[in-house]
Amino acid sequence: MTDMDKTNHRMLAIAKQNMVESGERDQLMQLLRTRLLECGWRDQVVMECKDVVRDVGVENITLDKLIAEVTPKARQTVPDSVKRELLQKIKNSISNQSSLSSSAPSFSSVSSVSFNHN
């Protein structure tokens, strides 16, 4: 794991912790659930799961199998509008965090190196 990765991981953890503490994560979670339900994505996923259960058989079905079979397709079929909306909100939340924190050395040091990454 490179230093870059380590720093990114740390920042992700910090950002996540801040979101949890402020209660924003729960709000985002709630919003995501509502959107995914409204657009019918959840029902699609349930249909997929039922197909897997039909194939494998009710006695042999495990959570692991469901996760392995259904997750890739489910991730792909998330509607773009929902994704955009949530990403925007998350970004705002993170920018608010960094603007609030008075001393943020890790942020500024990474920003100078972040050009070439990803």
């Binding site: 990114n8 920042m11 959840r42 996923v45 259960v53 998350i90 990454h117």
Partner: protein, 176 residues
């Protein structure tokens, strides 16, 4: 510049949120599959469905049968015979020997007399009391037997003595 990292963080956060929703769905489906029979409940009728389908025709009832009185049958737990339901209760009375007119005592007597011929007369007379002593312990039976015996001989004193002895020991009274 800052946006790249920001974007990757946002993206990962979003993926985490979606994963959480997905796990919730999987748990629900898995539970429905394993613990209930309700996973495919909203789908086209199966064989079972057709077995219990509601019938709505003229002249038939909801099960599809004619509205005449049906004879119900049951099996006696004692003698394992097939009986009509309306005759079940009276049959049980006779069969188990608990009704008013059941002659179980008589049939028992016949049975015991055919098994062992050396039964004493006393036993005979006193066995008749088992009718209303069905659940009594042996002690009570033998006590009553002794009392009946005493009565039979006509010795009233001995009866009283017996009663007094058992009660006097406890209460300390001794009138005689």
């Amino acid at each position: 510049m800052f946006c790249d990292v920001n974007f990757s963080i946002s993206s990962e956060t979003f993926d985490e949120l979606v994963e959480e929703v997905l796990i919730g769905v999987y748990f629900e489906v898995h539970r429905a599959a394993k613990h209930t029979k309700c996973l495919f409940v909203d789908e086209s009728p199966t064989l079972e469905h057709e077995k219990y389908a509601i019938i709505d025709k003229k002249g038939l009832d909801i099960f599809g049968e004619l509205p005449i009185k049906k004879q119900m049958e049951c099996v006696c737990p004692n003698c394992h015979r097939n009986l009509a339901a309306s005759r079940f209760a009276p049959h049980l009375e006779k069969c188990m020997g608990m009704g008013r007119n059941s002659s179980r005592i008589a049939s028992k007597r016949i049975a015991t007399s055919s098994v062992k011929n050396n039964d004493s007369d006393d036993d005979y007379d006193n066995n008749g009391d088992t009718d209303w002593n069905v659940y009594c312990g042996d002690q009570k039976k033998t006590r009553r037997k002794r009392l009946k015996n005493a009565n039979g001989i006509g010795n009233g004193n001995s009866v009283h003595k017996k009663v007094n002895n058992s009660k006097a020991n406890k209460s300390g009274l001794n009138t005689k």
